[in-house]
Structures are given as structure tokens and as C-alpha cells.
Symmetry: C4
Subunit: 238 residues, 4 copies
């Protein structure tokens, strides 16, 4: 109905959006995300005095960073399920792993929120980490990010395999393959970061932390290149 | 379908309600609000004896005040998303900040609930605040209220910018602009309250608290004036 | 769509179901109920040993009683919103109070769950209540039950008032009035129980507890009478 | 609408999917599942140091096992409500018991998660269970699994009874009966496991634990046989 009223701003007219009405699997996923986002800062501190309230306020900038990681991942799920819809035994299994990883992402993000807040404001929140543990922290985050993007890759892989049942048109087939290559970029950066961090860590944990983090900047040129290619090739389908 | 059955009581017939079916971003927001409302009083006290249960009961009036702040904000989100629908990269980003601010609103509201309950009933709930901290509490609430209404202003700002893609008719364009001016009123009161509280606080924390609170009463005449203007001008579109 | 496929089993063909698609206010309410139900037993005990797990198991019968109170109330909300749909400033305000009361219902229900479990199985869960406090516990439950049914009464009152905007047909008008009288029965029993408990408590707390509880049995004949009248009168509308 | 666009991959064309749009009872159930899944690992450990974070990571494999039990059960609920839709007083009551059992399933699953994690990694999470308690743990799980599948059996039983109101066609009637026999298999295995565990436990708790667990492997041949029969018989309906 909405489609008839206006061309949805983010929607491509060459794609049929099979899952515009949220399925119950979408609802379940949204419920998990909603709780995950809320629990991200809940119980961190229990403000019964005004001083506690001030400490709590200082977590806002770090919280905004943490929450955007979750929303980014949620957005990937939305983008997939809008186009291909989620009702398939395999997708249910993948979605289960996806949900589990999201919940696993919350704890490190809570940790990150507290850690960043301490760095920003020198609060008295108790987070203990030594300099030589930072590389392992980077490996940890890298692993969860890798796993999440790998599951998302498998989502598109599944859509690609069932393209006949889904009646994908030629543009949609092309789109699916392009998304797969985009997610390959997304998942290979954390993997690269893990490997390089672990290698350099043999010599210096400071350089391992720095270079392990800098690697993620490679996302910017790689996604720009992917985007250009995608736009160029997709014009052939008009 | 419902539209065909009856004219929705709160809906304006000159407006096309693009987002009548809740999007997944709406669902996510609702999940966060639902959890936020529930956690507003959960864990405040853990009633295992009958005396605890009585203490807990006394939080009801203060809880009703706190919950209405959250529902007011939720209602603003509903009013926007019903008309313009939420599917746009920018709106997703704004909505993320909005969700984060809502969760941040919960903690001070918990604090307010306990504080008001103590004032109403002299309970033994442990909330420590000194008289000279009250102005800062007012600044804190003012800041969160300001930030929430500012994000809501940006929502309408975004709708205004994409009016062509949204196919807004002339009345809808007018409506959007009017909402923007209404939200300017909503966000400027907390800002004014913050500034005046901080200035007067230099001389007397008691007067700072009182005047900082009284300023919010300006909402009443300002919204009445806005409302009159809106009704008058909107008749031209009939 | 579903309506075309089959006559919904619980739906009356003489009634137009205006709110068959859940509104966002419904979704928010459902989220609150979902969390309330889950938190009903969560954190009650933290089973890290097998003995704790066994203690926890014993809460199942009491939990089933507590959860059915919540589902009964939820069902009333569903029945109303399916017919009249929830989009109206007044209904939003009433719904806010309704949500708040539901959350307030959870704590006493947690208390009841622990209390009943102790009575059923003599577990070691720590709940302290003296015999002379039982009448006050009955007053407490009576009050929450009264408040919930009173708000539900106001829901139908509101629907009755806006019958013209809702385009209620004659059967629907009749149905609305009948629901109002049913809810009057529902809300007057707790009220009666509170008054009688308080009066008898002056003389004996044991008899106050017993009679205060027995009064709720009046529901059975009263609802049977209401039901007969409703069926008889509703035949005139066929 | 979606049905017109493509044949849903998991949907049988001989079945009318009456409940494709989620009812509010579905939404409530999803909210409970979402919270249950999230709370499965929340509060297990509260990682404020990097060492805690590492301990937490080790719960991932056990968590994936626990979460898949919940999703399996959720999937059964989905499969039923998609076909028969959930709006009926009896189904509401059954669904209430179902929700309660799901929440009751979470605690043992949390226990299982910690237990398995300790077995996999020798972490320092505190879970105390003696060898001779393992048979009782198996009885416990067996009971919850039995109760859940029994309620699901009653769901289909209810659908079978109301087949006239539901306008079930001959294939749908056949399908309903087949599902009932499948759920009989599902519920009889835990029952068998409980009985055999209790009997053997008289002689040896080790053998009781081992055989009590091995029995669940009977699921594999039994479901394969059921599946073959179902496919064979269902061809007669083409």
C-alpha cells in the first residue's frame, strides 16, 4: 500500500521487497536488539545519590558509540530481511546464531563503554585492564565482528542458493552477488586485524594495539571502491 | 483498511499517513520504550517482606509522573513516524540517538521517582541529595529534555528536506513547518531554564531551583498561542 | 484478509473489528506485559547449585496462578483494542495509567508467588509476613485489581462517548454499554472486599482475611447472571 | 500480498495460512521469548575486568546449545500459529501455560550453560552438582521438555476439535492429525527418559545418567520414519 503512495526513499525500484511486513522472526530479532540496547547501560551504575547520577551522565558519549555498533548490525539484518524475507529453516538457524552473537556483542560493548568513559573523563568506574591486554581485547572485538559479518554473508549466500524459489530477477541476482562481495570486505578486515595484532604482539603490545586498530581504516577506501563498482555495474541493469 | 471503515479520530484528512503500518525501526523503538518503562521501577526495591511492599506502593504517584514523561516523548515519535514513515539512513541515525537519549532519561527519572516518593511520604528509601545540588539536577533534566526535543526537531527538519521524495502536498508542507516551530518552543524552554538556573545559582541555590522550575510554566501560554495560530492558518488549506 | 477466509472463532459478526491490526500503542503494551511476565519470576532465586534449581521448580504452580492474573488483564486490553482501536489522546493517557498499574501488579504478584510456594512446599524462600498483616495484603491486592478494572471501565466509557466518531452501530452501542456494566461488577468486588476486610479487621484479623477472600466468589454468580442477560438482550439485535 | 509475489519456500500450497499476520498473542509470546533468550546469559557474570570478559567468552558454545532449544520450541509455536491463527479462549489459556513453561525452561538452561562451559573449559564459574544429582537433572529437563511438547500437542488437539469453524480442508485435517502423532513422539521420549532414568538410578546413578541421555537419540529414527510416512500419505492429497 505504502509502495503505491510513494517510492520509498531507500528502496530500489528494480528490487521486489518480499519481506516488507515484518515476520515473527524479525519481531523476535527486534525484541532481542531492543533488550540488548537497553541492557547495554543498565545496571552499569545504580544512581542513588546525585554524584552517581553525574558519573552515569559521563557514559553518554561512549554509550552512543556502543549503540551505533548494534544499530549498524541491526540495519544489515533489516536490509536483508526486507528484500528476501525470513522464512526458511536455514535462515532460522543462521538467525539463531546471529541473535546469540548480538547478545555476545553486548558484554564487550558494555566493557568498551566503561573503558572509553574512563578515558574520556577519568571517572571512578572500576575497569581493570593492563596495557598488554589491549591487543587481546582487539582480537576479541575482531572475532565478534568477524563472526557477525560471516553470518550475514551466509544469509546472502543462502538467498543466492535459493534464487529460483525466490524468483530473483537479473538485477536482484546481481545485487545479491554484490552484497556478498561487500560482506567479504566487511568480514576480512576484522580477520586481518586479528592476524596482524597477534603477529606484532610478539614484539610489542603497544604497536600491536595501534596497528590492529588502524587497519579498520581500510574500510573507508575499500567500501568507496566497492560502491563505485556497484553503481557502475548496476547502471547496466537499467 | 481501517481508514476505509472510519475516519481515525486523531487523524487529519488532509494528511496522508505514510507510516500507518509500523516499520521495524518503530518496533525496535517500541521495544526499547517498553523495557525502559518497566525498568523505571524495577529493582528499585526488592520486596520480600510486607513492609517492603508497602514502601514500594508509595512509589506509585511518583511513578505515574515519571512514566508520563516517557509516554509524552513516545507519542512525539509516534506522531512523526505515522505521517512520514521511518526508512531513511538519516532517520535511522537520528532514531539511534533518540533511543540512546530515552534510555538515558530513565535513570534520572528513577532518581526523580525515588526523590518525589521521599518528599510525598517520608519513606526510608535512600536518596542523598543536598539542597545546593538541586539546581544541577534541574540542569541535568533540562539538558536531556532539550536533547530529546532537538532530535525530534531534526526529524521534522529531515522530513522538510525530503519533501519532494515524500510527495508532501501543500498542507503537509505547512504542517511540517508548523511542527518545526512547535518543537523550537519545546526545546527552547529547557535551554532557557538551564541558563537562568546557572546564572541565579551564582547568588542563591534556592531561588535558582525555584525559578528554574517555574520557567517550564511558560509552555502553557506558548503552546496555546502556537495552537491558535496553527488552527487559524490551517483553515486556509481547507 | 483473514476475515474473508474464515469467520474468526471469537469474533461476533455484528461487530466491526476496527483495531484488528495492532497499533503501536498495542505493541508498547504487549512489550510491557512480556517483560512483566518474564520478570515475575526472574531474579527470585539465582540457581547456581542443584538444590537452588529444585527450590526454583517449586515456584511453578504459584507462578501459573500469578501469570494467569496478568493474562486475564491483558485479555481485557486485547478485547477492547480489537473492537475500538487505540488512537486517541484520552485512550493514550488511560493506557499509560493501565501500563503503570500492570507494572505495579507484578511486585505483589512476585510476593504472592513466593508466599504461595512457601505454603505449598515449605521451601526456604525468605518471605516474612505476620498473620495480622494478611488483611492489609488483601486490601493491597484489592486496590490494584479495583484500579485496573476501573481504568478498563473508563476505556469503554471513552468508547461510549465517542460512538459517533467511531460510527458504532446499534449492536455495538448495546455491546459497549453491556461491557461497562460487566466491568462495574468486576471493579465493585475488590472494593467490597477492601471495605469488609477493613471493618472486620477491627475485631479479628483471621476472620477479616477469610471473609475478604471469600467475597471474590461472588464473581461467579454475578458474571453468570450478567452473561444470561447479555445473551438474552443481544438476541434482539439479530 | 507476499503470497502473490512468490510461493513462500517453507509453505505448503495445499494449506491456507490463516495466521500469516502475527496476532497480539503472537507478539506477546515473541516478547517473552526475546527476553528469555537475552536473560539466558545476562547477569551470569559481570565483566568489569578483562579476565571476566575471557571467562564470559567461554560460555559461547554452551550458550549456542541452550539458545537452540529455545528457538526449536519457538519454531513449533510459529508453525502452529501461522496455520491456525491464535484467537480462541482455549488457545489463550494453553498459550499462557506455554509462556510460563518457556520462562521455566530458561533457568535450567542457564544452569546447563554454566555446567557445559565448566565441562568444556574448566572455568572458575561456580556451579555445584554432584554425580548422583545428574539423574535428577535429567529428570528435570525431561519434565520441562515433556510439558512443553504436551502443551503443543494440546494446541493441535484444539485445532482438530475446531476444524469445522476453521474450515479445514481434507489435506489440512490430515496435516493436523499427522502433527499430533509427531508431537506424541516428541513428548513420549522425555517421558521414557524420565522413567528409565528413575528405574536405573536405583542401581547406579552413572548408568542412569548415560542411558537417560542416550534415549533421546531415538528421536532420529522415529522422526525419519514419521517423515517418510507423512510424505507418502500426503502425496495422496495432490
Amino acid at each position: 500500500m505504502r509502495n503505491e503512495l510513494l517510492k520509498n526513499r531507500n528502496h530500489d525500484p528494480r528490487i521486489t521487497y518480499r519481506g516488507e511486513n515484518a515476520t515473527r522472526l524479525d519481531n523476535l530479532t527486534d525484541a532481542v536488539f531492543g533488550i540488548a540496547i537497553t541492557l547495554l547501560i543498565f545496571n552499569l551504575t545504580n544512581p542513588n545519590s546525585f554524584a552517581d547520577l553525574l558519573t552515569f551522565t559521563k557514559t553518554l558519549p561512549a554509550f552512543l558509540i556502543s549503540i551505533s555498533f548494534l544499530v549498524l548490525i541491526w540495519n544489515e539484518h533489516l536490509a536483508f530481511s526486507e528484500i528476501y524475507s525470513m522464512n526458511d529453516t536455514w535462515l532460522t538457524i543462521l538467525n539463531t546464531i546471529f541473535i546469540a552473537l548480538v547478545i555476545f556483542f553486548v558484554y564487550p560493548l558494555r566493557f568498551l563503554t566503561l573503558f572509553l568513559t574512563n578515558n574520556f573523563f577519568n571517572t571512578d568506574i572500576d575497569v581493570s585492564i593492563n596495557g598488554d591486554q589491549v591487543p587481546y581485547l582487539m582480537v576479541y572485538f575482531g572475532f565478534v565482528a568477524f563472526a557477525l559479518y560471516f553470518v550475514l554473508y551466509l544469509f546472502y549466500q543462502r538467498a543466492d542458493k535459493t534464487k529460483q524459489e525466490l524468483n530473483l530477477n537479473t538485477f536482484e541476482e546481481f545485487y545479491t552477488k554484490q552484497q556478498k562481495s561487500r560482506l567479504l570486505i566487511m568480514l576480512s578486515m576484522p580477520l586481518l586485524s586479528i592476524i596482524i595484532t597477534l603477529i606484532i604482539n610478539e614484539f610489542s603490545f603497544i604497536w600491536a594495539s595501534v596497528i590492529g586498530g588502524v587497519i579498520y581504516n581500510l574500510y573507508i577506501p575499500l567500501i568507496i571502491i566497492w560502491n563505485k563498482k556497484f553503481k557502475k555495474k548496476s547502471q547496466l541493469h537499467e
